[in-house]
């Protein structure tokens, strides 16, 4: 079955969003449309502060659009919901809970019995490669390990869609490469529809099925690239470099 | 229009209503329905009249409200400023010089856990019930609070900032005055504010035990002759003065902080 034939999971149509600021009204998203199919990995790539995070917040349901509609799995988005997991740039783990406590939090809120939710949480802790750290508090973990917990926590509520807002933005370059590989491995084991925001072109080409290039403020779709390179991709292969050159122009 | 106004000021209106309801219930229960004797719980109206009358009357405790207030403020500020003037430098010295720290802190740690007002009986025996005993109690209170906070504040100085000082060849004195003290300033001011609050409280206690003037004396006297209206007037006065003193210190803090930044 080709990608086109799979069903659409996210449909954003003609979204506008602006904020009130002291100087007046600041438009951050303008006429943005997007369709994402099941298990598709989409990167939103764009420069600096141009409303990428706002897009994630809109799809996640933290904010509502001024204009246009957002449908996830056929239902309009009005508030955060368990079919959409979010991985935050600043991670936002709960510091008073252990790794296990953080990962099982969503299931606990949903009233899943203790034994079952711990088994499921363990599965995702293993998936992100943190076995042995179940009882550590976030403060004891490195930045990369914390973001692994962040990914496991979002995965654990078993959402249909994963929204990732520059999840590796705060990591150093070395850890960032490692986490890109890790995310690809995790995604290939547990396929989900992913919307991944980044301002790093290599990261986008390495991970994405499709890259959507956004214009600077207000954010709107400038161009779209389907990345057909076989996985795992090589950062230095000629095809990779050619794509990079093309997109950067 | 009306609805928009209500919406905008909804919570302010609820706050006002909340205070109004409490006052109204007070008025209805005591003034109108006479639920309790006025020697137990005074009416709203009576309390207000007492406040106005006490501004000029010396009865029943020999001084007007203003005179009591001045007496309390005088003692409090005297003991407080001496404590602060001695406490802050000592705190800085203990935090900056390890020998000072090692030699003075053990004794200081012995004295610190004793609440300031526990010294009252001792000072009264030594100095009598005049201004000295009370001022000493306030002094101990403010001295201890100032040392503790200054010490912690200076100790929090980022080592990196001190290294930067080293790199630029700053002397120990320059590092202290240009790096450590500015860093510690917020903590020092926290100390000054805690000390002032504690001093004010200790003063009220000391005045209730032994005094012939002052707000603490006034409410204690009013209690002896069963005048709860006067007690409540005194309590509110104590509260308001404490609040005003704290606000004044906050203002000074922002001014000093600005001055430091401007340099």
């Amino acid at each position: 079955m080709s990608v086109e034939q799979k069903r659409k999971l996210i449909t954003c149509t003609n979204i506008d969003k602006s904020f009130k600021v002291p100087e007046g009204i600041h438009q951050v998203v303008s006429d943005f449309s997007l369709e994402a199919r099941e298990n598709e990995f989409i990167c939103l790539f764009g420069p600096g502060q141009c409303g990428k995070t706002t897009l994630i917040n809109l799809i996640a349901g933290f904010e509502l659009p001024d204009q246009g509609s957002i449908l996830v799995a056929g239902k309009p988005v009005t508030s955060p919901g368990p079919e959409r997991g979010v991985v935050f740039q600043n991670i936002s783990l709960f510091p008073w809970l252990t790794v296990m406590g953080n990962v099982e939090y969503g299931l606990k809120m949903a009233g899943v019995p203790k034994k079952e939710r711990q088994e499921r949480a363990q599965k995702y802790i293993d998936l992100v490669g943190l076995q042995g750290f179940e009882h550590a508090y976030p403060v004891k973990l490195s930045g990369g390990m914390r973001q692994r917990v962040g990914i496991a926590r979002a995965y654990c509520i078993e959402p249909k869609v994963m929204l990732m807002d520059e999840p590796f933005g705060a990591l150093d370059a070395q850890t960032r490469y490692l986490m890109q590989e890790e995310l690809q491995r995790i995604w290939q084991t547990e396929k989900r529809t992913v919307i991944f925001v980044t301002n790093n072109i290599e990261e986008a080409i390495y991970l994405a099925d499709r890259i959507i290039v956004l214009s600077n403020c207000p954010a709107t779709v400038k161009k779209e690239y389907v990345i057909g390179l076989p996985r795992p991709r090589q950062y230095t292969s000629p095809e990779f470099l050619a794509l990079r050159k093309e997109i950067q122009q | 229009m009306m609805i928009k106004f209500l919406k905008k000021y909804k919570y302010l209106l609820i706050s006002l209503a909340s205070v109004a309801v409490v006052l109204l219930v007070w008025y209805l229960l005591i003034d109108v329905m006479k639920m309790t004797k006025s020697s137990v719980f005074p009416g709203l109206e009576k309390t207000f009249r007492t406040f106005i009358a006490k501004l000029t009357q010396k009865k029943p405790d020999g001084a007007t409200l203003g005179q009591h207030l001045l007496e309390s403020l005088k003692v409090c500020l005297l003991g407080y400023s001496i404590g602060a003037v001695l406490g802050i430098p000592l705190g800085i010295a203990m935090a900056w010089n390890k020998w000072c720290d090692w030699l003075i802190r053990p004794v200081f740690d012995l004295i610190r856990p004793v609440p300031g007002l526990a010294w009252t009986p001792m000072f009264i025996l030594i100095f009598g019930i005049g201004i000295e005993a009370k001022a000493m109690v306030i002094f101990v209170n403010s001295f201890v609070a100032c040392i503790v906070n200054t010490y912690t504040g200076i100790r929090q100085t980022d080592e990196l900032h001190l290294w930067v000082g080293d790199v630029f060849g700053a002397s120990s004195w320059q590092k202290l005055t240009k790096i450590a003290i500015p860093t510690a300033l917020p903590m020092i001011f926290t100390g000054l504010r805690t000390a002032l609050g504690g001093s004010w409280m200790a003063l009220v206690a000391a005045e209730m035990l032994a005094a012939s003037k002052g707000l603490g004396f006034m409410i204690q006297q009013a209690r002896y002759i069963s005048r709860p209206d006067l007690v409540i007037v005194g309590m509110l006065m104590i509260g308001i003065v404490g609040l005003v003193l704290d606000i004044i210190l906050q203002k000074i803090e922002t001014m000093v902080a600005k001055g430091m930044n401007a340099q």
Partner: protein, 260 residues
């Protein structure tokens, strides 16, 4: 200096410092001052003599200490419980905040000690009045800190929890409450020392037992040794209370410490 040497020097300094203090005190009261002040020895002797055996008033020292401690604990925990509930609700709900904050702002600046006369008029001279005062001391600090703790919860935690499906009630109990704990503990610590001072004041004004009574009775009998013995006990118990507090805090706020 390496670490071990440093610790030893520090210890020696502490011993020297305290010994010097005691010797100065001992010599200082030899002369004229001696008529006013006792030396360290009679105080220490009296403290140990009355601890379990002899009596001050009609009770041993340990019983006096227990009286004061029980009063403090009753008021402290009551005030803390009410303060946490009220403070968190004020931080969480703007409605609760609007209703209670003006009243709280009126009551808070009045030091608990200033409530002594009115509480005697209202409640009388018994234990209730003392516990009420200590309740006030603890309540004000804890409410204030729980309130600001709940108001300043990092909004990112709330977003993350909502994303994971937490409802409004769940947010309050699983996010706002734990996120406010460091702030609540800071309030509990100030409250504890404030309660300790308040119980002494209450006992000094009106009581027939407890550490506050010991020092005020010492004053009335012109017995400086008794006053200083009382102060010694007050200091020791105060120190013990804050030590226990720090241990409990370290246990409960483990996640908040970044050290090893």
């Amino acid at each position: 200096m390496n670490k071990k040497q440093k610790n030893i020097t520090e210890l020696i300094c502490a011993v020297v410092s305290i010994l010097t203090f005691l010797i100065l005190w001992h010599i200082g009261v030899k002369g004229e001052l001696g008529r006013l002040m006792p030396g360290p020895l009679p105080v220490i002797r009296m403290f140990f003599a009355t601890l379990f055996g002899g009596t001050i008033g009609s009770r041993t020292m340990i019983i006096h200490i227990l009286y004061s401690l029980i009063r403090v604990m009753a008021g402290y925990f009551l005030g803390a419980a009410v303060g946490v509930v009220l403070g968190l609700s004020m931080g969480w709900s703007r409605l609760v905040e609007a209703v209670f904050s003006p009243l709280f702002r009126i009551i808070r600046p009045i030091p608990p000690i200033a409530w002594i006369p009115i509480s005697i008029i209202w409640i009388g001279l018994g234990e209730d009045a003392k516990i009420f005062l200590i309740f006030l001391a603890s309540f004000c600090y804890v409410t204030l800190n729980a309130w600001s703790g709940a108001k300043n919860v990092d909004p990112d935690y709330l977003r993350a929890a909502r994303m994971l499906g937490a409802g409004k009630r769940q947010l309050l109990f699983t996010i706002v409450l734990p996120a406010s704990i460091p702030s609540i503990f800071a309030g509990l610590q100030v409250a504890l020392s404030s309660c300790w001072a308040t119980v002494l004041a209450a006992e000094m004004v009106r009581s027939s037992e407890g550490l506050g009574w010991i020092i005020i009775a010492g004053m009335n009998n012109n017995d400086m040794v008794q006053i200083m013995t009382g102060i010694l006990a007050i200091g020791l118990v105060g120190m013990l209370l804050s030590m226990i507090f720090r241990k409990v805090e370290a246990r409960l706020c483990q996640w908040n410490k970044s050290g090893s």
